[in-house]
């Protein structure tokens, strides 16, 4: 049996199940534990404060403080799930994430670990430049952090459960347009991230990509919202007789390069869709690795579809210009196939 759930609902289910399974799991964050409140900015923790009275801890607006406290508690053997409300606010806690969470095990010579999950909603959504970023790329070069990026309710639940059980710090990026948050917290322009979620226990290993569409003409890679737009581009291309293979990375660190390589060897053409800016981005990293290891298989230049190197703008026409969409991804795939 299964149910059709939104990402917000499946994440909530994962948190409840993990908190019931393991007494060392607790939640911490802004506006997550207020009776009559919102359950976090996107309703993920709604109602949890009544169910787990002492283990859903509402924090002051104090990211450096409570992310650091998460690191300290994790070192002592607890498993905090820390809610960052908006991924942009992670910069307030950068020292705790990069300086402490990521390095503490290493500096100790392997004597301790930091089993912490940082949940962080990304994406441009009509909120201007400071509630809109895709900061995934900032962390790609930071050894010691795992990075998960979820795009469906099924993945969200299975990967969050794996992240909670992982003994390393995990940055868990979610997308504001994909949550399916309801009521006052609903997002305009939302994209459907809901899916069937089976009853009962399951997990998805961190570091395994998902094949969203099979095809032999061109490989398109995406994650988070871009995984959906890549799949939509695949649908557009199919009508023209171009069979795209669409890969949803699901995790950026570790990255399932085997899945990428297998597909590129098959298609000989690669398009990478990234919501964040092209410069220094994750697509750049993937392209570099493909150039190093798969050059013999490539029949056309690798193409990146990413946002321009400007801050996320506010006004709707500029936002539409800024964010890559299915049409742009399809264009890049056509160029690749024609080239």
């Amino acid at each position: 049996m299964s149910r059709h759930l939104s990402i917000a609902e499946s994440l909530r289910e994962a948190i409840i199940e993990e908190m019931e399974r393991d007494g060392s799991v607790f939640c911490m964050g802004e506006d997550i534990g207020i009776p009559g409140g919102w359950g976090g900015a996107f309703t993920v923790t709604l109602g949890l404060e009544e169910r787990f009275r002492n283990r859903v801890i509402d924090t002051p607006i104090s990211e450096n403080g409570f992310v650091g406290a998460g690191v300290g508690a994790a070192m002592m053997g607890l498993r905090p799930i820390v809610d960052l409300q908006y991924a942009d606010f992670i910069f307030c806690a950068m020292d705790q994430v990069v300086g402490n969470a990521a390095k503490m095990r290493y500096m100790s010579g392997g004597k301790l670990s930091v089993p912490m999950v940082l949940r962080a909603p990304v994406g441009i959504t009509g909120r201007g430049a400071q509630h809109a970023g895709n900061p995934e790329s900032y962390f790609m070069g930071t050894a010691g952090l795992k990075i998960v990026t979820v795009s469906t309710a099924y993945d969200a639940k299975g990967l969050l459960k794996s992240a909670v059980r992982d003994n390393n710090p995990v940055l868990f990026f979610e997308h504001k347009l994909l949550y399916g948050s309801k009521g006052a917290r609903a997002e305009s322009g939302a994209v459907d991230g809901s899916s069937d979620v089976p009853d009962g226990e399951y997990t998805i290993p961190i570091g395994e990509a998902a094949l969203r569409r099979e095809g032999g003409d061109v490989t398109i890679i995406g994650w988070l919202l871009m995984a959906h737009f890549a799949a939509q581009a695949g649908d557009l291309l199919a009508k023209e007789g171009i069979e795209a293979e669409v890969i949803d990375l699901r995790s950026l660190v570790p990255m399932d390069f085997d899945a990428i390589a297998a597909s590129v060897k098959k298609t000989g053409r690669l398009v990478i869709a990234e919501e964040g800016p092209a410069r220094g981005g994750i697509a750049a990293e993937i392209a570099a690795r493909c150039a190093e290891e798969l050059a013999d298989y490539l029949d056309a230049p690798i193409r990146r579809v990413a946002s321009p190197n400007v801050p996320p703008p506010f006004s709707p026409p500029m936002e539409a210009f800024y964010r890559p969409d299915a049409a742009r991804i399809a264009d890049a795939a056509r160029e690749s196939v024609a080239g």
Binding site: G65, M76, N100, S108
Partner: protein
């Protein structure tokens, strides 16, 4: 016995060394650590500090000489000593025919200023009244009050402080001689803080520390051999050679690897306390930090969390009056750091940080209260660093009068004098302790220098937890 002064290894990337100028003339006396000469590498101009005390008997490498690492450059000893035998077989660095002159740093190309918008802007400095050096003193009219304490307990405090002092002094020499890698931030003069605090703790308690962690690690009971091995970068160091001086620690022994980003350990301490509170454990978390950390946002956020959640956290500010070289009055307008605690609803206490018993009593009360569920405490320990901020810092920014004041109030001799005055121990007892400390350090240094290095590729281990 004459000591040959050799050019230390200043790092693997230095190709050549030139003596720019001698700062001491033959016949003059030299103190340990006193700048002997100005030397120039292809990277920078440095002062070379003396690794011996005595009289400068001979300059072997004259001004302008090009010197290799390990070459003898001077001899220090007793006046009238015969040094020729000691110098036999040593090469004499020569002054090249065209002696290199002091290289002037390349002048940057003048950069065009932004076009003026009209009015000429004159930048006004801030707080110009602070240009005059402040003299920092703190002298409550008490001495360590030994009444009511057993002699073995007091002798143990003395031993712990002496272990830290001698650890630092031995390490500094090893460093100046060029045989210890890395950098060091030392705590000479601040021993009573580490020892007084850690003496109040139990096995399950946890401390967090800073870039200046040697004293905290020794006082928390980490084995000296493991600490010394870590400083030498050996595989059996407390962090397997991955931490070094600034990350001393071992959680199994109650010390989080030291966090060297200033103030960053304060929220971590709140998290350790949160874990204790959530699990209803009667354990306390203690955060050591300096005066400089209290200007960091992390400090304020960490204190606030501990206060609103009522966590068993003890915040210990070792106010040594300088953030690196910047005096505290240029960093904050508040007179006492303890006042800052009130902003978070925590009582802030000022304690004589150079009186180990005053520290022990004040922190002991705070720890007992926190252990019983009474919430956090903040203590400002007024103390003073009797050494440089880091490796080659001659601390010229500390006024002489101030240095003398604090030298006269250094914590180890204060405790010893109080014990002698109270008739609790004879000088013999202290001499015995000193000898034990020295033997332990001898053994630790010998052990560390003989211990194997990790392999280069061991750098790839310990990133991920299984």
């Amino acid at each position: 016995m004459a000591k040959l002064i050799r050019m230390p290894d200043l790092g693997t990337t230095v190709d050549s060394l030139v003596i720019n100028a001698w700062l001491i003339e033959p016949g003059q006396s030299v103190e340990l650590g006193q700048p002997l000469a100005e030397i120039e590498t292809d990277k920078a101009v440095n002062e070379l500090e003396s690794v011996a005390a005595g009289t400068l008997l001979k300059i072997v490498a004259e001004t302008g000489a090009e010197v290799q690492t390990g070459d003898v450059i001077a001899v220090i000893g007793e006046p009238g000593e015969d040094i020729e035998a000691a110098l036999q077989g040593e090469t004499t660095p020569a002054v090249p025919p065209s002696a290199p002159v002091r290289r002037e740093p390349a002048q940057p190309e003048p950069v065009a200023s932004p076009a003026p918008s009209g009015e000429r802007v004159i930048v006004q400095g801030v707080r110009p009244e602070n240009d005059a050096p402040a003299i920092y003193t703190y002298a409550p009219d008490t001495q360590p009050d030994c009444a009511g304490y057993e002699t073995p307990f007091l002798l143990n405090l003395y031993q712990e402080m002496q272990r830290i002092r001698r650890f630092e002094e031995r390490v500094r020499l090893l460093f100046l001689e060029g045989i210890m890698p890395g950098t060091i931030h030392q705590c000479d003069g601040q021993e009573a803080c580490a020892v007084g605090v850690c003496a109040t703790l139990q096995d399950g308690d946890v401390i967090t520390s800073t870039h200046r962690p040697h004293g905290h690690a020794v006082a928390r009971g980490l084995p000296i051999k493991e600490l010394m091995s870590e400083l030498f970068g050996r595989d059996d160091g407390c962090c397997r050679g991955k931490g070094g001086s600034m990350h001393f620690g071992d959680l199994a022994r109650g010390m989080v690897p030291a966090i060297a980003t200033v103030g960053s350990n304060v929220p971590i301490t709140a998290g350790v306390g949160l874990a204790f509170k959530l699990r209803a454990e009667e354990r306390v978390a203690v955060s050591f930090f300096g005066d400089g950390a209290t200007n960091e946002g992390a400090f304020h956020e960490g204190l606030n969390l501990a206060a609103v959640w009522g966590l068993p956290c003890i915040f210990v500010c070792e106010n040594n009056y300088y953030g690196a070289s910047t005096p505290v009055h240029q960093s904050m307008a508040a007179k006492d750091i303890a006042d800052r605690a009130a902003a978070y609803g925590i009582e802030g206490k000022i304690v004589d940080g150079n009186d180990v018993l005053a520290v022990y009593e004040a922190v002991g009360a705070a720890v007992a209260n926190a252990r019983a569920g009474g919430g956090p405490a903040f203590l400002e320990l007024k103390t003073y660093r009797l050494c440089g901020h880091s490796r080659r810092d001659a601390r010229d920014y500390q006024p002489d009068e101030e240095k003398e004041f604090w030298q006269g109030r250094e914590p180890i001799s204060r405790l010893r004098q109080s014990m002698l005055n109270a008739g609790l121990a004879e000088q013999d007892a202290f001499d015995q302790v000193d000898a034990q400390v020295e033997a332990e350090l001898d053994a630790a240094i010998e052990h560390a220098q003989a211990a194997p290095f990790p392999d280069g590729a061991d750098a790839l281990e310990h990133v991920w937890a299984p």
